[in-house]
């Protein structure tokens, strides 16, 4: 059934393309965040990373992704909630940001959401960290889902001298 649904959406062509958005939703603690599905390259279980010296606390380290070195960002730490102590059940979502591939460390991947673009709310003015890191907010099943601005998340990784 699911497969059929997806097919329908694809076949619908333009309408679907312009009006709706598919998200991969993942959780950090209780909160759910999402990124656009087309940017996601791979989802893998946490399997350790080599720490990078002189980087900010939200840079977990680098991993070997089939021969290329990919940095991993701790999304919890990025939001200022303290560093995650990763276990085997934690998940790394590998995404492409521009030309680069980065991984973000999250607690779990929860769902694939299809939302209408019209339903994206602006991030309310307030804490600058929130407005910087999120590009929008959507409501799904009565829950708030923050849309991650990947470019902002990966910026400023090095400790300024």
């Amino acid at each position: 059934m699911e497969a059929l649904e997806i097919n329908n959406e694809v076949d619908d062509g333009q309408v679907v393309e312009t009006k709706t958005l598919q998200l991969i939703a993942f959780s950090i603690g209780e909160q759910i965040y999402g990124v656009e599905i087309t940017t996601v390259r791979e989802i893998r279980a946490w399997n350790g990373a080599t720490p990078l010296p002189n980087t900010r606390e939200f840079v977990v380290g680098v991993i070997n992704l089939r021969g290329t070195i990919v940095p991993i960002f701790d999304l919890r730490a990025r939001f200022g909630d303290g560093q995650t102590s990763p276990t085997k059940t934690h998940v790394v979502v590998v995404m492409s940001v521009g030309e680069k591939w980065v991984g973000i460390l999250v607690d779990a991947v929860s769902d694939i959401l299809t939302v209408s673009k019209d339903d994206i709310h602006n991030v309310p003015e307030g804490n600058s960290v929130d407005t910087d890191l999120l590009s929008g907010i959507i409501t799904h099943d009565g829950q708030m889902v923050g849309l991650i601005d990947l470019h902002a998340v990966v910026a400023g990784a090095q400790i300024e001298a």
């Binding site: 990373a49 080599t50 002189n54 680098v62 070997n64 021969g67 070195i69 990784a157 090095q158």
Partner: protein, 705 residues
């Protein structure tokens, strides 16, 4: 890419090779080597450039190259003397040909009068010679294609000086000969200069109209060259350029032989051969087959000029897309990793029980290493390809600055990885420009300083261990240290109280504060674009070092890795994390418990090694890693950075030596201070490569701040 574009691309590739060769030949000629082979090589190269240009309709290039060729031909045949003036003109013209090729490649048009002055001089020079009737003066680019109506200087009357000896030349052009824009008529004319030749055309092979192929080649010639004094070689020389594009048979003949038989002979020659053979053997007549000739000469390791006579047909090399080679290199890199992973998996238990497996793994290790070396060798290229651009640069600079500069080049055949070579062009250009601009003084000043009027820039390449050293040296004024230091202080690169050694001052020219030309062009020292040098060289994992002797000159040394892909490293741990240190920079390692440390007022440590005090960098502190290893159980790795400056890195443990494939951190992340890159270990984990030079300069900088 259309087919034509592909042909064009190939043509331009060939052109750059030819231009490099030309540059080389001219350098030798300029140095006084008047060997005829050199001129012939030049002539051939220009001819090839022209031929291709004609095919693609680059009329400006064809026109110029043609006039140039005419001049060269006169020089070659001795009608024009090879004076210095002519040499200079030729070299200048060579640059112009390069300009034309460059413009054609970029799809640009040069001003229509480009090279007109030189062209006019060609004509003047050529006019003064006895061969001027051959010269076409209208300068029309395509005139070489409509020469068939110019008077033919061959004598078609049979020469019946019976009893006289001569050469019977049987000349059957192939289709390729015409395809390469050669004209048999020119060859016949040239033959005619050897004496009163008797030319007979062989038309027997012309098929019936139905079978006639428009571009087919059906006729050949028989030419009887009389004269006892004409050598076989001189006859052969005429056909030098069409070697491989035609069948040539040269046999000694008595002229008296009835010419009527010639037709028959031409076609049944194979049967008749035995009768000629004995007579002919002494003078080695044979149908020239290009391949066997080409093979031994082209592989001539000294790359002497004879090699270039070889016909293009002798396939000794192939053109391969660089991407394809890179793919192989990458895969071999992965293979190396897998192999070392397998080796690491072998524990003692396995080793006892599976000896065959162990042996197999050892063989695999050897083969992998061999494979890796061979793959690297494919990518290696002689630095010549970059060096050969420099003579022109120096000539131009000398002209602009009114200085007299001679460029000496040594070790052009040193081979480096292609990627390194590509990155080398800009830095070298800047360094040479710098030497010519700021290093070498104007002639008057040099004479006053009791130096020879002509300044020398010496460009050399050599291999030193796992590195290639490229050295640019000049005998100019050297760096004005006072000014450099003064400017450095003004710009805040150096603190007001900071004392610097002479060497440190010299190296200040690479400091970021000295980065742009405008800021420093007024100092008599250096600084033009030197940041480009440093950043380019650093990018490929190399280092730059400068030394200067006031009044006597400056030497800049580029230390480059042999290859970018593989690195011999020492694997260490710091705070339980793996780090690797390039083996090439390690001098020695020692246990901290046996090392003698001294303490500095600021709390820093120095290591005493054989009477020398060396700055100590604790990697755990530097990289903010937590370590629980006691100090006495840790190790000091003594490394040598640029300019023989040593630095001691303190690590937790030394694991061993291995080969790693360098992976970029910047590809997905950004550059990190003190880290030169990453690599993937046998267990699949990432290890970081310690940037020894970066650590050293960063620490110096911090201390300075």
């Amino acid at each position: 890419m259309s087919e034509l574009d592909e042909f064009k691309a190939t043509y331009f590739d060939e052109c750059s090779e030819l231009l490099n060769e030309l540059e080389e030949q001219f350098t030798a000629i300029e140095e006084g080597d008047r060997n005829a082979d050199r001129l012939n090589a030049v002539f051939r190269a220009i001819h090839s450039v022209k031929g291709g240009a004609g095919a693609f309709g680059f009329s400006g290039l064809v026109g110029f190259a043609h006039e140039f060729e005419t001049l060269l031909d006169f020089v070659r045949t001795g009608k024009i003397e090879m004076t210095d003036e002519v040499v200079t003109l030729c070299i200048r013209s060579n640059d112009i040909v390069a300009d034309f090729v460059g413009a054609a490649r970029a799809g640009e048009e040069l001003p229509s009068d480009h090279g007109a002055e030189e062209k006019a001089r060609f004509v003047t020079l050529c006019k003064g010679t006895k061969g001027d009737d051959e010269l076409d003066e209208d300068g029309e680019p395509m005139e070489e294609f409509d020469i068939e109506f110019t008077p033919v200087m061959v004598n078609l009357e049979p020469v019946n000086d019976s009893g006289k000896e001569g050469w019977l030349v049987e000349f059957t052009p192939h289709r390729d000969l015409y395809a390469r824009a050669n004209d048999p008529l020119l060859l016949l004319r040239e033959l005619a200069e050897l004496g009163d030749v008797d030319v007979k055309v062989i038309l027997k092979t012309i098929p019936t109209l139905a079978d006639f192929e428009p571009f087919g080649v059906y006729c050949g010639w028989e030419i009887l060259v009389p004269g006892d004094d004409v050598t076989e070689q001189s006859v052969r020389d005429v056909f030098e350029f069409v070697d491989g594009d035609c069948d040539i048979k040269i046999t000694r003949q008595t002229i008296a032989e009835p010419r009527d038989d010639a037709d028959a002979m031409a076609f049944d020659l194979d049967d008749d051969m035995p009768s000629f053979a004995d007579l002919a053997n002494e003078i080695t007549p044979e149908v020239k087959k290009p391949v066997p000739v080409a093979a031994p000469v082209q592989s001539d390791p000294n790359g002497t000029e004879e090699g270039k006579n070889a016909a293009p047909v002798g396939v000794q090399s192939i053109r391969v897309d660089l991407d394809k080679v890179d793919r192989v290199v990458n895969m071999v890199g992965e293979l190396v990793i897998t192999q070392s992973m397998l080796t690491q998996q072998m524990d003692d238990n396995l080793k006892v029980h599976y000896q065959e497996l162990v042996r197999g793994l050892e063989v695999l290790a050897q083969t992998t290493r061999g494979l890796q070396d061979s793959v690297m060798a494919i990518r290696a290229q002689p630095v010549k390809s970059v060096f050969s651009r420099m003579p022109r640069l120096v000539r131009e600079l000398a002209g602009k600055t009114n200085k007299k500069i001679r460029l000496e080049m040594v070790g052009e055949n040193t081979e480096i990885d292609k990627t390194v070579i590509e990155q080398l062009s800009d830095p070298l250009t800047h360094m040479i420009r710098n030497s010519a601009d700021h290093g070498i003084e104007i002639p008057e000043k040099r004479t006053a300083g009791r130096k020879p009027e002509t300044g020398v820039i010496r460009l050399s390449a050599e291999q030193a261990g796992g590195n290639i050293l490229i050295i640019v040296e000049d005998d100019g004024a050297g760096i004005n240290r006072d000014r450099v230091l003064q400017i450095a202080r003004e710009r805040g690169v150096v603190g007001p109280e900071q004392q610097m050694s002479e060497e440190q001052i010299d190296n200040l020219i690479f400091a970021p504060g000295f980065s742009t030309a405008d800021e420093v062009s007024d100092i008599s020292g250096r600084g033009v674009g030197m940041d480009v040098v440093l950043s380019n060289i650093k990018k490929i994992g190399g280092s730059v070092h400068v030394r200067s002797w006031p009044g006597a000159g400056t030497r800049m040394t580029l230390r480059l890795p042999l290859t970018l892909a593989v690195l011999d490293v020492m694997l260490v741990t710091v705070g339980r994390c793996p780090y690797v240190i390039p083996l090439s920079s390690i001098v020695e390692t020692m246990q901290c418990s046996r090392a003698e440390f001294g303490h500095m007022p600021t709390g820093g440590r120095v290591l005493q090694v054989r009477g020398e005090y060396v700055q100590v960098v604790d990697l755990a502190t530097r990289f903010e890693m937590h370590t629980d290893v006691e100090d006495k159980h840790r190790f000091a790795v003594l490394c040598e950075a640029e300019g023989s400056v040593k630095i001691a890195l303190i690590v937790d443990d030394i694991i061993g030596q291995q080969q790693v494939v360098i992976k970029s951190l910047e590809e997905n992340f950004e550059r990190i201070d003190g880290i030169a890159g990453g690599t993937i270990l046998g267990d699949g984990n990432v290890a970081l490569i310690v940037d020894v030079q970066g650590l050293r300069s960063a620490t110096t900088h911090r201390n300075a701040a």
